[in-house]
Symmetry: C2
Subunit: 336 residues, 2 copies
DNA sequence: TTCAGCCGTCGAAGCGCTTCGACGTCCCGC
DNA sequence: GCGGGACGTCGAAGCGCTTCGACGGCTGAA
């Protein structure tokens, strides 16, 4: 293994000069820097990560905690993870992968052993048990999602309330007067995942504002459940013409169900969703949707962490504005 | 930060004794060990990962390189990654996540800086450019998939050839005489990913052995392509009664296409697939399939690495025997 | 001309841990 | 009763890097 002293000898300087030439933390003459760089290349020198971490108390590694519970849309997680890795690399950091399963002990472990400099935690719940832990750690963290009491922490996510509102606004703007929200499976609400409830809030607020008749239904992630919800909605709200779907798994089956019940999309029924763009595009009837910007959330999360590591301040809450793409599943309400 | 000297003082022993008490690399009296453990708990001591890595030249971190190109089934990758992390933790290791994008340079970097002790590389191609690199690294690696020339390396994967054979055996056993394989998108074959071709080999060999009439068709990952393939197959092989599908994305659309062409599954047509169990189960017509054992591959890969890190020998090739689950998409050929 | 001060570099002191050799003690076999 | 191991512990020497203080030489202001 070639070490810094080898480079120093080869370049005719001291090891500390090599270190400064690499880090730029002290001025080094161009001449010397060039010699050092040449030696580094010539010898194929790579600083030893452990030694560096020990001496500088910086590992240049980020922890990423991914959820693995059922009901989570896997491609979104993956996209997010890839985005985190890519952005982290751009900032000269690597990413350590942890699973939810490791729990609080896992977070404490990687933080306390100084394996990582900072943490990113996905799938945060309203009353997440990891909150106090994250507050007590001596290293910065960013949470994806909003807990009930985020003070002292840094959170980022799509503005799900605004997303719910935007869907309703869109439908209202097209003349729809009776709308429904088909949401996540009941357990998601029970578990009190914040984002699901925020969509409901936004949906309801906007519907009230526009004096729309509205309903909200959770829905299991099965075609059968989707069909049941469709039937139930139509029997309770025969005049229903606008639906907002916030549940990846049933987007397609629900659309099918409505069509089998005699409603054409978008002729008789407008459907809009909150889901990843790829999903919205890939359906038989491409659906007007608000994107789940997982890649953007990932890179923004890393950027927030980098600022924190640099000792700069960051906002406690970062809400990404919803972005709607029309795809033909929504249309003006037919004159009745 | 509490360090080993603090623990030593608190327990009334020397730092080296604490180290040996933790690692067990030298005999320590029960009495002393207990005192040390008590002190560790009392002080909340956590060994500094960097210091440990520097002194022992072991980071206890594994690198996992995940693919991100299109056409790969994301849930499989995710399941694999989770399995790797879980198994690694069981062996007291963590996992550093790298993307394919980082390329060879990324592999070299994490290996040469001693950030990781060993590497797991997914989605290996027949003539993967990373092969020579992996051979030259001073740390062990395991590849998921088989390149053309795996000598000197360690590979593991489902035995895709046997999987292709098993599908045909199953169909032949049910009396089917005319079969077809609908495979991955053409680019997968062009890229020469080994597993796709192995399925073809197995399929063809078994079909020949049983003197079946057979055909092989690549297929793009779109419903339209699936429909086209279905039509083409039926026009060329009107007597077709058995199909093997090795392409997650089109499993459902292809089934639909056949049914729309007037064939009932499994009444008129038996379908069997090579795909993840969850996918096979979740279809409208649950399909008899050979599982893609991503979780098992992941944990086995880690176990192989651990053996290598322990200096024990491992086989160059590990082929996981295919496991078929009947689910009702296959049946005895109707008497004609 | 002098001296303050900056620039560029060096040497040395750790960072917190593991590991090697050494050493005293105790037990067992002869 | 004595020598030789095994056992249990200690001290010290690093692992390879960063960083702090120091220092010589040079510039520019006085």
């Amino acid at each position: 293994m070639v070490k810094i002293t080898d480079v120093a000898r080869h370049a005719g300087v001291s090891p500390s000069t090599v270190s400064y030439a690499i880090s730029g933390k002290r001025p080094i003459s161009d001449e010397t820097r060039r010699r050092v760089e040449a030696s580094i290349r010539a010898l194929g020198y790579r600083p030893h990560a452990g030694a560096r971490a020990l001496a500088s108390s910086k590992s240049n590694v980020l922890a990423l905690v991914v959820p693995l519970r059922a009901g989570i849309h896997v491609p979104v997680v993956m996209q997010f993870a890839v985005s985190v890795v890519t952005t982290a690399r751009r900032h000269d950091h690597d990413v350590l992968l942890l699973t939810q399963e490791e729990g609080e002990e896992g977070l404490r472990r990687v933080a306390d052993t100084a394996l990582v400099d900072a943490l990113i935690v996905m799938d945060v719940q309203l009353h997440d048990p990891r909150l106090p832990l994250l507050r007590s750690l001596d290293r910065p963290s960013v949470m994806i999602g909003f807990p009930a009491a985020p003070s002292g922490l840094t959170c980022i996510d799509l503005d799900f309330k605004a997303a719910g509102e935007a869907c309703v606004e869109h439908l209202a703007g097209l003349g729809h007067r009776v709308v429904a929200l088909v949401g996540s499976p009941p357990e998601v609400y029970v578990r009190q995942t914040a984002f699901a409830q925020r969509v409901v809030q936004g949906f309801t607020a906007a519907a009230d504002r526009h004096r729309l008749s509205s309903a909200v239904r959770p829905c299991e992630a099965s075609p059968a459940a989707a069909r049941a919800v469709a039937e139930q909605l139509l029997s309770e709200q025969p005049a229903l013409t606008g639906v907002v779907v916030h549940n990846e798994a049933i987007l397609e089956p629900l659309t099918d169900a409505f069509e089998q019940l005699g409603l054409r999309v978008p002729g008789d029924l407008s459907i809009t969703a909150i889901c990843p763009d790829e999903l919205a595009e890939s359906l038989r009837v491409p659906v007007t949707s608000i994107a789940l910007p997982s890649a953007e959330v990932g890179s923004r999360a890393v950027e927030l962490l980098m600022r924190k590591l640099d000792g700069k301040g960051v906002p406690e809450a970062t809400l990404l504005a919803p972005r709607m793409t029309e795809r033909g599943s929504t249309g003006r309400r037919a004159a009745s």
